[in-house]
């Protein structure tokens, strides 16, 4: 059992950071058990390295076969579709381009509301004028009718009044005549009877 602060195998396999390596080396100098364990690992490593790499018995090389070799276009397409980075970049580029063109283009979508607004305003103005003129005509016609009726009523009233006045004048005249007759009669009656009042 190792008493080392860090794993001796990690040290042997060179997987320890430098700060931990320094601490472990300091510990190994003072601890006989850990030093012996590390020596065993190093002996094992040295033994393993006695097995040398072999040369490859046959060199590997490839030749380009024109029959099976895809065309440059197909290679480019294959490379494009296999690369997420390229696909992402192309998508971003297309999006940017569409935003840019939409921003700089004096599109009909932008102008159409302005034209429509002017036309609508003119139409509304015409409708308002038409409605006002219609209303004015109606009011004038109604007022003319009322005036006509009023004039007719007044004329009728005048005729009635005149008739009444005439009747009253006739009555008055008749009354006056009757009273004169009555007075004449009073004056005449005593004389005829021989008595003077």
């Amino acid at each position: 059992m190792s008493c080392s602060p860090f794993d001796l195998k990690d040290y042997f396999l060179q997987e320890l950071p430098s700060s931990q390596r320094v601490k472990l080396e300091a510990h190994v100098k003072t601890c006989l058990t850990c030093r012996e364990e590390l020596e065993r690992l190093q002996l094992t490593g040295a033994a393993l390295f006695s097995l040398r790499d072999e040369e490859i018995p046959q060199r590997i090389a490839f030749v380009s076969d024109q029959i099976f070799e895809p065309s440059p276009l197909r290679r480019w397409l294959s490379g494009f579709w296999c690369s997420t980075a390229r696909l992402g970049f192309a998508s971003a580029l297309m999006l940017s381009a569409s935003i840019f063109f939409a921003a700089i283009r004096p599109g009909p979508i932008v102008d159409r509301p302005a034209v429509a607004t002017v036309a609508a305003q003119q139409q509304i103005q015409q409708q308002i004028q038409q409605a006002v003129s219609n209303a004015v005509t109606e009011v004038e016609a109604r007022q003319a009718e009322k005036t006509k009726q009023l004039v007719a009523y007044i004329e009728h009233q005048n005729v009635e009044t005149l008739r009444s006045v005439r009747w009253m004048a006739g009555e008055l005249d008749a009354n006056r005549k009757r009273s004169q007759v009555r007075q004449m009669a009073m004056y005449v009656q005593p004389g005829e009877s021989g008595e003077v009042k």
Partner: protein
Amino acid sequence: MIFRAVEDADLIRQATRGNVESFNLLVSRWEKRVYNYLLRITANREDALDLTQDAFLKAYQNLRKLDDPGRFAPWLYRIAHNEAYSMFRKRKPETDVEEIEPEATETKITVGGSSVFPIELSLAVASALDRLSTDQREAVVLKIYQGFKFEEMAEILSCPVSTVKSRLYTALELLKLELAPMKARGVS
């Protein structure tokens, strides 16, 4: 004029445009490492060579799917790993891949070239590696011989980092028991 080394990323870019020669240059840079990785998990030269060719062919066909050229190495090893496990399953469909053992020690990997190490130690190492499970052996190969980080190993093996560490630590314990005394006795 400024000169700089041609990096893998440059070759990958040119290869995706259909430049086969750039891909061949990329192959020449990686074929030995991939071959030895496959050799150590299959323990068979023919299989390792076939799988290496298949892995590079698949890599060429799918190179356009590699978004980050900086992750080429884990991506390539992931293909090689898949090819190897596909072969294991085809050969022993009823057997769990974990139980598949490599070939017998008689056909085991031998030391290539004029090694300064004695043959006995190499044989002992090969034998000790053979006794590990397939997953443990692959973890050791990826870490010790190929130098990948835990995160890259997890990506290649398609499992959590904790699983990678567990397999590697167990394998190291087993290897240590066999190899450390031998090395300490001064076989080398």
